[in-house]
């Protein structure tokens, strides 16, 4: 009989009590897994941001427009490898509640600037450039609505209208693109700016923002300063930032989500520490005589210490791992319906590793006091009791 068998037998001596502690561990790690996935999705904008990509927006606010002429002027700045421009379309499909991420873009440069993020098949690439009313649709969006290449899709705007008065534009799907990195979400579509600018009923020659790639991330600061200086004191001043900084500021607009997640996870873990920690103390106290007997048989204090710690760590793992499994199932089942707001929600290997480390840490923390009690236990006193 090795120590592991002893640890296991001890843990499940009182089955109901062990089951209850496992349940509370399970709940804590299910909460941890889901919230960590949620937070990761919330911060995904910062994680996917390319180091060499800058965003140029109107200095007043990013919802204010910029003149389309800025596209060519920024192009000429030294250190800019490629630049493209994008427009928020405010798109929805059939019903305003089916809100969609739709952008009007400059096609050729868009596919170049984002070539590390999205994988556009060669024939789709050519068709998108060739056909004015075509659109490129992300794989996730196409899957969600069951769209195929060549489909005609009517997409409406909650902001813009066509000169004819309708809010709906018809697009032909030129191709479906995939992501090149797993953390890039493809629940969006793009179409040609020229088509957009000619057909919309108000505002002309104005774009939403510019996205550009620098020759090297080392040029970022210099290029950003050069752009903002170029347009200083004009009626459209700019603010240029790295994509990462821009996305981070945008996420912060929703509030301090990180703090909220930390508070809830913290509350769940404090609960565990209290419940499991106390139960372990009680369980070991009940075994006082038995531990004294083990010591009499020649088990060293350190070995006893290890046995008790092993028991609490085993408990944390047996409860925590299925809890993490539940978190995986929960995120899988809700990620589709939340994809517009929280793209790419998933329990990643990084989250799983963090959870594993926390399980060991919680196991050690809940087992430490009872293990110490067992370590210090004196045979004579213990056997003398009762």
């Amino acid at each position: 009989m090795n120590d592991l068998v002893l640890v296991r037998k001890n843990l499940f001596r009182k089955k109901l009590r062990a089951a209850l502690m496992l349940v509370s561990m399970l709940v804590a790690f299910a909460i941890f897994g889901v919230l960590a996935a949620f937070q990761r999705s919330f911060n995904s904008g910062q994680d996917v941001a390319a180091a060499d990509r800058l965003v140029v927006v109107n200095k007043i606010n990013f919802t204010q427009p910029l003149p389309v002429a800025y596209f060519n002027r920024v192009r000429g700045i030294d250190g800019v490898r490629q630049v493209t421009h994008l427009n928020w379309f405010g798109g929805y499909y059939q019903d305003p509640r089916n809100f969609m991420l739709v952008f009007a873009v400059e096609p050729a440069t868009y596919m170049d600037v984002y070539s590390d993020d999205i994988d556009v098949p060669p024939d789709a690439h050519d068709a998108f450039l060739r056909e004015r009313t075509s659109a490129l649709v992300g794989e996730a969006m196409a899957r969600k609505w069951g769209w195929k290449v060549g489909d005609h899709i009517p997409i409406s705007s909650s902001i813009f209208s066509q000169k004819s008065g309708t809010h709906t534009w018809d697009f032909t799907i030129a191709g479906i693109f995939k992501n090149r990195k797993p953390q890039i979400d493809t629940n969006f579509m793009v179409f040609q700016y020229d088509y957009f600018d000619e057909t919309r009923s108000f505002t002309k020659d104005l774009i939403g923002w510019l996205a550009l790639q620098t020759v090297s991330p080392a040029d970022n600061d210099r290029v950003a300063k050069a752009i903002d200086q170029m347009f200083a004191n004009s009626s459209y001043e700019t603010s240029t930032d790295t994509e990462k900084a821009f996305n981070k500021a945008f996420a912060a607009q929703f509030g301090n989500i990180a703090l909220m997640v930390e508070l809830v996870v913290g509350a769940a873990f404090v609960t565990i520490l209290m419940i499991v920690g106390n139960t372990m103390v009680m369980a070991v106290r009940e075994r006082t005589r038995e531990i004294a007997v083990l010591k009499t048989l020649g088990f060293s204090g350190r070995r006893i210490f290890g046995l008790v710690l092993g028991e609490s760590v085993l408990l944390a793992l047996l409860g925590g791992l299925p809890g993490l499994g539940i978190a995986v199932l929960v995120t899988l089942s809700i990620s589709q319906s939340l994809s517009n707001f929280f793209p790419g929600m998933a329990v990643t290997p990084g989250i799983a590793l963090a959870a594993l480390a926390l399980m060991v840490a919680l196991g050690l923390a809940t087992g430490f006091v009872p293990a110490l009690n067992a370590y210090r236990l004196r045979i004579a006193t213990a056997l003398g009791r009762g």
Binding site: L16, R17, L20, M21, V23, S24, V27, A28, A30, I31, L35, K59, I60, N61, T63, Q64, G90, P96, S156, S158, I159, G165, H167, F202, N233, S234, S235, Y236, E237, S239, K248, A249, A252, Q253, F254, G255, N256, L263, V264, A267, A268, V270, T271, I272, M274, I275, G277, N278, T279, V281, M282
Partner: protein, 395 residues
């Protein structure tokens, strides 16, 4: 019957008095239940605070006119000719000068710096005319003065001042090539307008190149029932492809999306945590029954019924849960109630609001705590009632 009640009372007293013997275990149950209640009430008071701010913003007798299909002010466009047609519409109240109380407004987004994160945030800049304040009630300048017509002056809501940097009274803000002076701070009865910056409409229009366009039109109605009259007028005119809603309905709709989301996060989290706390409660109560096995058996041997053991155990569990619920509610009140924060609203701009705990919400928290206590006590109570006397006496 009387002796039965006395039995129950006696055993319950013994149960409650024995709680300190399991001090740490009982305390851990109380803390676990308290944390469940804190998590639930923090989310619910956040949702409630947001909802109050928005619902307090809308009046039933003010109509808001938006471009057809635009769900929020920021997406809407109304042209000058359309505003003139609305001026002539029936059902609209008139001011002392006999002019209709109609306010065409421009709604733009500008950057501010959020104080607690030091990041840029979207703030609404509303261009309003003389009628703007007349259409709304409850607008009060609390520091400085109102902007003067035709000048580059602005007034800011109280919420802007507390949550964002750069708009202090007396400071200067530059948009495009124009400098603006912040000349006043206003209160708006805790409504969403306190999260806005107001300036003179024609000045904002010309400085932002929006000369003939507005975002929305607000009109004070003769009475809430006149909404239908105005709606019919707008629907019958082909030049007016506009949606007419009461301001109350508009804000209620905007509030529901965010509060739904917060509640949909809060309840599942609290319920999941309640399962963890339930495990703790069951554990504590089974330990309580085990620790008192001899005592229960002795009582049964001298003629006490099983039911009194049942009630005693259940009451002990409920007491722990109620203490936990009360501690949780008190902690939420101290930590969160009145806490001011801001988030992005439906118009894609920041809405400043405060957490608001109400007795009804506390009631929901206590009910959740009681459910934990009830289930956590029920099964151990059955065990206590059914315990064989001989086995108990042998322990």
């Amino acid at each position: 019957m009387r002796s039965f009640l006395l039995q129950v009372a006696a055993v319950t007293t013994i149960n409650v008095k024995s709680i300190p013997q399991r001090f740490w275990l009982s305390l851990s149950t109380i803390v676990a239940v308290a944390l469940v209640v804190v998590v639930l009430l923090a989310f619910l008071s956040m949702a409630n605070g947001f909802q109050r701010t928005l619902s307090g913003s809308g009046a039933a007798d003010v109509a808001i006119v938006l471009r057809g299909g635009a769900e929020s002010e920021i997406n809407s466009v109304v042209l000058r000719d359309q505003v003139r047609l609305i001026d002539d519409a029936p059902g609209i109240a008139r001011g002392p000068d006999g002019k209709p109380l109609v306010s065409a407004e421009l709604y733009l987004t500008v950057d501010g710096i959020k104080r607690n994160s030091q990041t840029k945030a979207n703030l609404p800049l509303r261009g309003i005319g003389q009628e703007g304040a007349a259409v709304r009630r409850d607008i009060r300048i609390v520091a400085g003065r109102m902007f003067s017509p035709g000048s580059n002056e602005m007034v800011v809501g109280k919420g802007i001042l507390s949550e964002f940097q750069g708009f202090d009274l007396g400071s200067t803000v530059t948009f495009r090539t124009t400098r603006w002076n912040v000349v006043g701070v206003f209160e708006a009865g805790g409504s969403v307008f306190e999260s806005e910056i107001w300036a003179d409409l024609p000045v904002v229009q010309s400085l932002f190149n929006r000369n003939n366009a507005f975002q929305t039109v607000r009109a004070r109605l003769e009475d809430p029932a006149s909404l239908a009259t105005l709606k019919a007028y707008v629907d019958n005119d082909p030049r007016l492809k506009l949606d007419v809603k009461s301001e109350a309905a508009y804000f209620a709709d905007q509030a529901s999306r965010t509060t739904d989301l917060i509640q949909k996060l809060g309840w599942p989290l609290a319920i999941a945590m309640a399962f963890g706390a339930l495990a703790g409660a069951l554990n504590t109560m089974y330990s309580s029954v085990a620790a008192r096995a001899t005592e229960i058996a002795t009582l049964r041997a001298i003629g006490f019924g099983g039911f009194s053991a049942f009630v005693g155990t259940l009451v002990e569990s409920l007491i722990l849960a109620v203490i936990g619920g009360a501690v949780g509610a008190a902690a939420t009140f101290l930590l969160f109630d009145g806490l001011t924060t801001s988030t992005l609203g439906a118009s894609f701009t920041q809405v400043v609001f405060s957490f608001k705990l109400t007795p009804a919400l506390v009631g929901q928290g206590v009910v959740l705590a009681l459910i934990v206590g009830l289930i956590g006590g029920l099964f151990p109570a059955f065990r206590a009632a059914r315990m064989p006397i001989v086995a108990g006496l042998n322990e």
